[in-house]
């Protein structure tokens, strides 16, 4: 059976869509939160550990320590969650062809462009995403059974034509 290996950007980290749509749907054995704030906050850690379905291993690490921690799960199936495009970009050298990269949920803030109903990006994030797209396959979708949002127009957006 195919092992699903997913890196996802989701600023809500583990929540309903992630549990029902990704962890349970692909029957994943491992999930990971790569986030300095959550790592440093025992209450947030306790909350996220309590909501993961039974039997799913959860790994919480800082961005800096993730490269080492990733060795524990990299040969298995996994969903690794990043809060931002910047965090994903920092860990980009860990992405190989077996990993599906998914942009799922990034909330609206001033100066952001709406990409989908759940993804809002500013120009600096779009630039990073364009760079990542040159090396990797990236989809924008909140749930696995949805069609990915087409991001061909990003270059036009960067030129100020959208």
């Amino acid at each position: 059976m195919k092992k699903h290996r997913i890196f996802r950007v989701d600023d809500r980290l583990i929540h309903g869509q992630v549990i029902e749509g990704w962890i349970k749907y692909f029957k994943l054995s491992n999930t990971s939160i790569v986030n300095d704030k959550v790592y440093a906050d025992p209450i947030q850690q306790m909350i996220y550990r309590s909501v993961v379905p039974k039997g799913v291993n959860i790994l919480i690490s800082t961005i800096k320590s993730f490269e080492n921690e990733f060795l524990k799960i990299k040969n298995d199936d996994f969903l690794v969650l990043f809060e931002s495009i910047q965090d994903l970009y920092t860990c980009r050298k860990l992405i190989d062809d077996s990993i599906e990269v998914n942009i799922g949920c990034i909330a609206n803030r001033p100066h952001k462009h709406q990409i989908s109903d759940t993804v809002f990006l500013d120009i600096s994030e779009i630039k990073l995403l364009c760079e990542l797209r040159e090396e990797h396959n990236i989809s924008i979708k909140k749930l696995p059974w949805e069609t990915s949002i087409e991001i061909l127009n990003f270059n036009k957006l960067l030129d100020g034509n959208l």
């Binding site: 929540h15 309903g16 909330a107």
Partner: protein, 132 residues
């Protein structure tokens, strides 16, 4: 009297409140917060901070729709405060029980215990009753 904050996905909380009030009448000390696609959670947390601060001395129940969802995850961070309890899986019978019993109980924890029991008892497979 213990205050109630309904914190749910989309407009579920608002509609639940409207429906509950249709059955048992207008309620005081109740607030609704909704999380939509694209909602910036830090703004919602600021609003929740203010509401918890406003009501915590008399006790607060935060009712959320689904354990593991963003509303529930956000609410659980307030459990460090003794005046706050969180109950998940809110439904109509649960909310009716909360509003009906909240004047007679001392703590939000006690109220949530009664509400959880009422909500669980309200889930019935009607065909099984008919076969008895």
């Amino acid at each position: 009297m213990i205050a109630v904050i309904l914190l749910t996905h989309s407009s579920l909380g608002l509609e639940l409140l409207k429906t509950t009030e249709m059955i048992i009448g207008k309620q005081d000390k109740v607030e609704v917060l909704s999380i939509h696609s694209g909602t910036t959670l830090s703004i919602l947390v600021e609003k929740l901070d203010q509401l918890v601060e406003k009501y915590k001395d008399g006790g607060v129940v935060i009712a959320t729709d689904m354990f593991g969802g963003s509303p529930s995850n956000i609410a659980m961070a307030y459990l460090v405060n003794e005046g706050v309890e969180v109950i998940t899986g809110v439904n109509l019978p649960m909310l009716i029980k909360i509003f009906s019993d909240r004047k007679g109980v001392e703590t939000p924890q006690e109220l949530c215990a009664l509400a959880a029991e009422a909500a669980k008892k309200s889930i019935i497979i009607a065909g099984e009753i008919m076969k008895r």
